[in-house]
């Protein structure tokens, strides 16, 4: 009974899909104006599938019902588009040209290897990702400060958290386009009084890179800090007291006690932060648009421009897919390394 329902729903869904495919390719006249009905068909199919599960498998079906909605949603919104993305990546498809999409094989991949702007953006990602270590150092300092015996801890904690709440786009204007503005921005004025005659934050490559990084750090240091603070607060007090009894100074007890205990938390937070750093785009798009000469470009902001300025969907997707593969390889290696490293130290 339940199985029959699933089979029936699958057949119905497949039929609608087939009709729409034939309609789009022009084989038959019957069909829908757009693909929206296929989406509804998928929704109906998921309901039928869930009901069928319960009818066919009883108690186990009821349990599967908890997981099914999230799984079916993710399959529809991630797995399918990603696979579809690999297909687009193999096309020569420019939305602004009259010729429609046509198969290009590995053409995009070959183009990618000769695209110096793309490799330049990847090089910049190396800088931005390494800069996470700097963010981590500052955040660790702040977490230690908040963990000390201080008054008004609640106030400082709320204040230190605030930058995390702000939208990177708003921050782009607030800091990048006004505080760091060349003529009237307070940061430029301050730099002039400190003796830097020409405080252009976005004119030369390295200064621009550091300015972008500073803004991103400003937004994301609170996240690292909060995670580290939670780790510090979970640390048993006796350990530090024992170190003090043994005559360890502040630096020594940090170096030999606090830091090793915090290592697992540190590795976790660094990995999460790197994952988010690899998505960096908003600030770059809005402050420098990748300039000067691509010096601040991230992979995401570069692909954004490939699409926005050149409407090159096929090539842009190819770049993105290659980037995804590189991220997966990098993270797998990092995970292995960090696991081995923490085991060795602990």
């Amino acid at each position: 009974m339940g199985r029959a329902l699933i089979v029936l729903a699958s057949l119905g869904g497949a039929l609608i899909l087939l009709v729409q495919i034939l309609h789009t390719t022009g084989t038959i006249a019957a069909g829908f104006a757009d693909w929206r009905p296929v989406l509804y068909a998928y929704l109906v199919w998921t309901v039928a599938f869930a009901v069928g599960q319960v009818m066919a498998r009883g108690q186990r079906g009821l349990r599967a019902l908890f997981l099914l909605p999230a799984v079916l949603f993710t399959v529809a919104v991630v797995i399918f588009p990603t696979l579809f993305g690999f297909y687009i990546a193999s096309l020569d498809w420019n939305l602004s040209s009259f010729a429609g999409p046509h198969f290009n094989g590995l053409g995009n991949l070959i183009g990618l290897f000769n695209d110096s702007y793309y490799w330049n953006a990847l090089g910049n990602m190396l800088f931005y990702t390494t800069a996470v270590l700097g963010e981590y150092a500052i955040a660790f300092g702040l977490a230690l400060l908040l963990n000390a015996e201080i008054r008004g801890r609640k106030f400082f904690r709320v204040v230190f958290l605030l930058p995390l709440m702000l939208s990177p786009v708003a921050v782009s204007w607030m800091i990048g386009k006004s505080i760091m503005e060349y003529r009237f921005g307070p940061a430029a004025t301050l730099a002039r009084t400190l003796g830097w005659d020409n405080p252009a934050f976005f004119a030369s490559p390295w200064i621009a890179r550091f300015s972008i990084e500073a803004m991103d750090a400003w937004v994301s240091i609170p996240f690292i800090m909060i995670m580290l603070l939670a780790g510090l607060q979970a640390m048993p007090k006796e350990v530090l007291e024992a170190a003090k009894v043994d005559g360890a100074g502040g630096w020594q007890s940090f170096r030999h006690v606090t830091f090793p205990i915090m290592l697992p938390v540190s590795v976790t937070v660094l990995l999460i932060r790197m994952i988010f750093k690899l998505k960096l785009a908003d600030i770059v798009i809005n402050v420098t648009a990748g300039g000067p000469g691509g010096a601040t470009d991230t992979v995401s902001s570069f692909i954004y421009r490939v699409y926005r300025d050149r409407s090159n969907v096929g090539y842009g997707t190819g770049l993105a897919m290659f980037y995804l593969l590189m991220i997966i390889v990098l993270l797998t290696v990092l995970l292995r390394l960090s696991r081995r490293w923490t085991q060795k130290v602990a």
């Binding site: 929206r36 296929v38 989406l39 009821l62 349990r63 908890f66 997981l67 999230a70 799984v71 949603f73 993710t74 919104v77 991630v78 588009p81 990603t82 579809f84 993305g85 687009i88 702040l142 400060l145 400082f156 709320v158 204040v159 230190f160 958290l161 605030l162 995390l164 709440m165 702000l166 939208s167 786009v169 708003a170 921050v171 204007w173 607030m174 386009k177 006004s178 009237f184 307070p186 995670m227 939670a230 780790g231 607060q233 979970a234 938390v265 994952i275 785009a281 908003d282 798009i285 995401s300 954004y304 699409y307 969907v313 842009g316 997707t317 770049l319 993105a320 897919m321 991220i327 997966i328």
Partner: protein, 282 residues
């Protein structure tokens, strides 16, 4: 003493950009070019920036196209972020409860593999999905609709909701479920009537965190909306280039865009911290 010096310095670093933006929205051109900082002391505050948005006391009752645009973007932001957070909370809580209580087997995938499958969505950079979605949404007539954005934002928030809620459910003893079964409740009855009410703090934390993520999202919104479904960040971004030295109106717009989350951050800091630190220190 040194400690308080450092604390105050960093508090200044955190607060100055916000202070600067709020005060600049009350400045006129000459105050901007001369770099005045303190209202009433070195410049006379004026509603200039807010008037350009149609939100100052003297212009609030007149019709204003700028205000109409702002209100529609604000409404889009609220609808998409709240809608997506609610959807993610429903889908995520169900999946998290299942993963915390039952043993699943989908082919070779066990519970840990399924959890990893959900969490691995986090590494997907938005660019990977953006262009396929552009093509798909065009075919589905979902381009430039709020529903289209809600679906994508749900996806961004889902892994975090599952992570937080699974931890939350793991902390609730299984004996409670078993007692409910003895009382004759089904699996779903036990979940809805006994366990879920106990998990409310975690749900609040997960909801707020996904709200923050969705409210601030720019990349998808910039690519997938054009007129109807534009959100606040897209509006802020589209005006940054064109305004010249019209800093007062940009400042007013930025202030309005960050204000809701600054208030949320101040009032609900506890939940944000508990959501972020789920699983840390264990």
């Amino acid at each position: 003493m040194l400690i308080y010096g450092a604390l105050l310095f960093w508090a200044f670093v955190c607060l100055f950009p916000i202070y600067w933006t709020v005060t600049t929205s009350f400045k006129s051109a000459i105050d901007v070019t001369q770099g005045h900082l303190v209202p009433w002391l070195d410049f006379q505050p004026d509603w200039k920036g807010w008037r350009s948005l149609g939100l100052s006391p003297d212009s609030i009752f007149e019709t204003s196209t700028a205000r109409a645009e702002f209100v529609s973007r604000f409404a889009n932001s609220i609808i998409t972020s709240v809608g997506a957070s609610l959807l993610a909370l429903v889908l995520g809580s169900l999946a998290a409860y299942g993963l915390s209580r039952f043993r699943y087997k989908f082919g070779w995938m066990r519970n840990d593999d399924i959890l990893f499958f959900f969490m691995s969505q986090l590494i997907l950079p938005p660019v990977v999905l953006a262009l396929p979605f552009l093509v798909l949404y065009k075919a589905l007539s979902l381009l430039d609709t709020r529903l289209g954005l809600i679906l994508l934002y749900t996806l961004t928030a889902l892994p975090i909701v599952i992570w937080i809620m699974r931890d939350q459910f793991n902390a609730i003893p299984v004996e409670l479920d078993e007692a409910a079964f003895v009382d004759g409740l089904s699996v779903w009855g036990a979940f809805l009537r006994i366990v879920l009410p106990l998990a409310v703090p975690g749900m609040v934390a997960a909801f707020i965190l996904s709200l923050v993520l969705c409210w601030n999202e720019y990349f998808f919104a910039a690519l997938l909306t054009s007129t109807d479904a534009k959100t606040l960040p897209v509006m802020v971004a589209s005006q940054t280039g064109s305004q010249g030295i019209n800093w007062w109106s940009m400042a007013a717009l930025s202030t309005a865009a960050i204000a809701p989350l600054v208030i949320v951050g101040i009032l609900l800091e506890r939940y944000i911290v508990s959501g972020l630190t789920t699983g840390a220190g264990k």
